[in-house]
């Protein structure tokens, strides 16, 4: 009994200290695992963003190829095929603008302008098909299409630069 009386308090203190150290170690382990989880989450977000940018470049290059094909069809005067192509192009661009969140306000406005330009060209070609005549100024259609191609190319370069920036 004497023994217990003498050592009870130091044992409680020691027990308390052991608990405190254990608690501290637990906190450190939890914090480390949390920061590891956060780092993993950040890495996943970066990979996701990089993939999204690469997909954006791929999508825009496909649209650019479609514009080149449109210009060839204009030169060949294959007007019957064109309205469906313009619609498809406009849908692709509207979809791209809706799904790619990193576009600046200016880039979104540029894409909107391209959509409107092809809408105008589509209207001109539709009117000419209805009257069974060629559009009034076919070279101007290619001039406008080429200008839209240049604007799209600028956006591709800007997106590519952000991928390069992410790699650096």
């Amino acid at each position: 009994m004497e023994f217990f009386r003498e050592w009870a308090d130091p044992a409680s203190v020691l027990g308390f200290l052991v608990s405190l150290i254990g608690f501290f170690i637990t906190i450190v382990v939890v914090l480390r695992s949390k920061s590891a989880a956060e780092r993993t989450g950040q890495a996943v977000a970066e990979v996701r963003q990089k993939l999204m940018r690469q997909t954006a470049v791929f999508d825009l290059n496909r649209v650019l190829a479609d514009v080149d094909e449109l210009k060839a069809l204009h030169r060949a005067s294959v007007w019957e095929l064109l309205p469906a192509r313009y619609s498809s192009l406009r849908r692709q661009l509207a979809g791209f603008r809706g799904t790619y969140p990193d576009l600046t306000r200016r880039q979104k406005a540029t894409i909107q302008g391209i959509i409107s330009q092809f809408s105008e060209i589509e209207s001109i070609v539709e009117k000419s098909l209805a009257t069974k005549q060629a559009p009034p100024d076919p070279p101007s259609l290619n001039r406008i299409a080429a200008e839209q191609s240049d604007k799209l190319n600028d956006i591709v370069i800007a997106v590519q630069q952000t991928i390069g920036g992410a790699n650096a």
């Binding site: 406005a109 540029t110 909107q112 409107s116 589509e122």
Partner: protein, 122 residues
């Protein structure tokens, strides 16, 4: 405020912002038609021949995000909507068209360059 009254407000703001150089206009495939675009909408302004009428017709179109025309008004529509300011409508739409054309074709830049060249030549 009716839709036409809002369009009238839009026209006046476009004239003001174009004069300040804050609106980018571009030529389109259609003759005498110019457009400016924002992230979700575009605006077109056109000068059309109006048979049996002494002056041209000015038309303003609004296009949605897919390039569909969602509104089309001409100067007469606006004049009817804002009778108190009807005298001002034709001139303002004419001013907007002229400013859009000048901006889209780079007339101001060309004039500045020409004046600068003439200055050097003298």
């Amino acid at each position: 405020m009716t839709a036409e009254e809002k369009v009238w407000q839009l026209i006046r703001r476009l004239v003001e912002k174009t004069a300040q150089g804050n609106v980018v206009w571009e030529a389109t495939a259609a003759q005498n038609t110019f457009q400016t675009s924002f992230p979700q909408y575009s605006v077109r302004v056109a000068e059309l021949d109006r048979p049996n009428y002494r002056g041209p017709e000015y038309v303003l179109e609004m296009l949605d995000g897919n390039g569909n025309v969602i509104e089309r008004v001409d100067d007469v529509d606006i004049q009817n909507a804002v009778p108190m300011e009807s005298m001002e409508v034709g001139k303002t739409m004419h001013d907007l068209y002229r400013a859009a054309r000048r901006h889209a074709l780079g007339v101001d830049t060309a004039l500045d360059s020409l004046l600068s060249e003439l200055e050097k030549a003298s």
